[in-house]
């Protein structure tokens, strides 16, 4: 208890406070000077920062619903009692989630190569022209979304599956006796019972996407033309490419505020209990 708290105090609480102070300072080498809100006002006039915000939200809004829908679909499919080979399917779908994250991004970087990548090769069989996956703004974003979806769908599927298994079977038995159809049962029992699990996955996926770094860093380094620049990637560049610590801290605090607001809204929207 004491060691844990001491560690949190030193390595989390102190940096969080210090970062806040830093966001009002300008750092030049070892010199620090107080500049008030200058970092923040600069931030709100910075087109790249706006772009990183916009990109992060575009990815969030497209990726999270698609992924969770797929996860839920597979989980419900696997849960249905008539299916054979459940263990095989479960492990197969979970495989991407245990692939090392950087490894997954690298593999897709190669697969999505415009001229020699396997994906375009396969698409050519159905008559689709080569897609410039990583070199054009639109497709670069699609690529990031693809990699994230590949990697995390199975992970969320397993969580849904565990949630489905926790629903007491008596509920379904009672419903069948009352003559409720399978579809009605799905909406009257499965969905409401799954709600806490669903909130959990939505909040976790949202927070994860807001902090998106690895996939964008490996696949495209934020390019082309900043199309996959995310908030965290921009923070990393400001802090550790340009050593603009004050500015980077301001970016970090905007991320904190956004995360807090979104988590709060999500909790309010979905949870009345």
């Amino acid at each position: 208890m004491a060691p844990a708290f001491l560690l949190i105090l030193i390595f989390t609480v102190y940096p969080v406070i210090f970062s806040f102070i830093l966001s009002f300072q300008e750092v030049r080498g070892l010199e620090k000077s107080f500049v008030g809100l200058a970092n923040y006002s600069r931030l709100f006039q910075d087109p790249v920062f706006y772009k990183s915000l916009l990109n992060t939200f575009q990815i969030l809004i497209v990726q999270v619903p698609i992924m969770l829908f797929l996860s839920l679909l597979i989980a419900v499919g696997l849960h249905s009692s008539m299916l054979k080979g459940k263990a095989f399917f479960r492990i197969s779908y979970f495989m991407p989630a245990i692939t090392a994250l950087v490894a997954a991004s690298i593999v897709f970087m190669i697969l999505l190569d415009e001229h020699f990548g396997l994906v375009n090769y396969l698409l050519s069989f159905v008559g689709i022209e080569p897609i410039p996956w990583l070199t054009t703004p639109f497709w670069a974003k699609v690529s990031v979304i693809l990699v994230m979806t590949w990697r995390w769908t199975g992970y969320n599927m397993v969580i849904f599956l565990a949630g489905l298994q926790n629903i007491p079977s008596e509920l379904y038995e009672a419903a069948s006796i009352d003559g409720a159809s399978k579809i009605k049962q799905f909406f009257m029992i499965t969905i409401p019972q799954l709600k806490p699990v669903f909130i959990f996955t939505v909040v976790m996926s949202t927070i994860g996407t807001l902090q998106l770094f690895d996939e964008a860093f490996i696949l495209t380094q934020g390019g082309p033309n900043n199309a996959t620049m995310t908030i965290t990637l921009y923070l990393y560049e400001a802090g550790f490419k340009f050593f603009d610590f004050g500015y980077a801290s301001a970016i970090a605090y905007v991320l904190v505020i956004i995360t807090a607001i979104i988590s709060w809204v999500q909790m309010k929207l979905v949870g009345d209990d």
């Binding site: 844990a4 969080v16 499919g77 008539m82 565990a162 690895d214 965290t232 988590s263």
Partner: protein
């Protein structure tokens, strides 16, 4: 009529599920095959679907460009030490929060919940400055210490510890067991599944960690796998064969670790996170 409809819908479900399995596994299989091919063969179309004989050569060049053995050791050492210590510390803290009454307990727990919500990126720059001050850049402790007390793990362990009946603990106290002894002989055995779940979670997050090691490690022989692999991409001429082997080798330990402990993973993570 109804019967045949049922069969065809069943076939449909199977087809969709199998298509999904192919999509899930194919990139992974291709990565394995790629690690046995020379760089040029990886981009050959139509693709090679069977392993080649270039595995040893790829390993040799991977070892030459990265010092692979050392880097693999760095990753493994950091992840194992981190997982062991963090699981222990977080479990003890979780135990204290679940079963002890002390002054300021609610405030402390509130602080931990708050840090759970805060994106870790906000600590990057002060932490980096701290590491510079301590002269800790390029050290194991710089990677291990900052996230050693994981709020998520503490929270999960507290949720799990709460369901242990107080009477067992009371009984051991009456028998004269010290708090540490109680923790190791009474609490530890009953919460082992939860600890296994927490351990997998911590191991995976540390093994995959890129951003913080990228910032703190800049000498090549201290690199962890993710940092080393991402440095290979930055090279002017990428040797794809060695890159594929590197990604394969970085994935194997996490798979072994997961397969060893997987039974507990889902129930542990979910049980703690969702039920109150």
């Amino acid at each position: 009529m109804i019967h045949s409809k049922k069969i065809s819908s069943k076939v449909g479900i199977y087809c969709l599920l199998i298509a999904g399995v192919v999509l899930s596994i194919a990139p992974f299989y291709w990565m394995l095959v790629g690690s046995t091919l020379p760089s040029g063969e990886i981009f050959r179309l139509p693709p090679k679907l069977l392993p080649g004989d270039y595995l040893a050569k790829n390993f040799q060049s991977l070892n030459e460009s990265l010092g692979f053995a050392k880097i693999f050791w760095n990753s493994l050492f950091i992840a194992l030490v981190y997982t062991l210590l963090s699981t222990l510390i977080s479990s003890m803290a979780g135990y204290a929060f679940a079963k002890f009454k002390f002054k300021g307990k609610n405030l402390l727990f509130f602080i931990i919940l708050c840090t759970l919500m805060i994106p870790s990126q906000v600590t990057l720059i002060p932490l980096f400055e701290m590491m510079v001050t301590f002269n800790w850049l390029n050290t194991y402790q710089a990677i291990i210490l900052p996230t050693l007390a994981s709020p998520f793990a503490i929270y999960l362990m507290r949720q799990n510890m709460k369901s242990i009946p107080d009477s067992i603990i009371e009984a051991s106290r009456v028998d004269g067991a010290g708090e540490l002894k109680i923790f190791f002989t009474v609490i530890f055995p009953v919460t082992r599944p939860a600890m296994a779940a927490v351990a997998i979670f911590l191991f995976m997050s540390q093994w995959n960690s890129l951003l913080w090691p990228l910032i703190t490690l800049n000498s090549k022989e201290m690199f962890t796998l993710p940092v080393a692999l991402s440095s290979l991409i930055g090279m002017a001429r990428i040797d794809y064969g060695q890159l594929m082997l590197g990604t394969t080798l970085s994935t194997i330990p996490i798979m072994i670790f997961f397969l060893l402990l997987q039974k507990h993973f889902i129930s542990g993570i979910l049980g703690g996170a969702v039920k109150e």
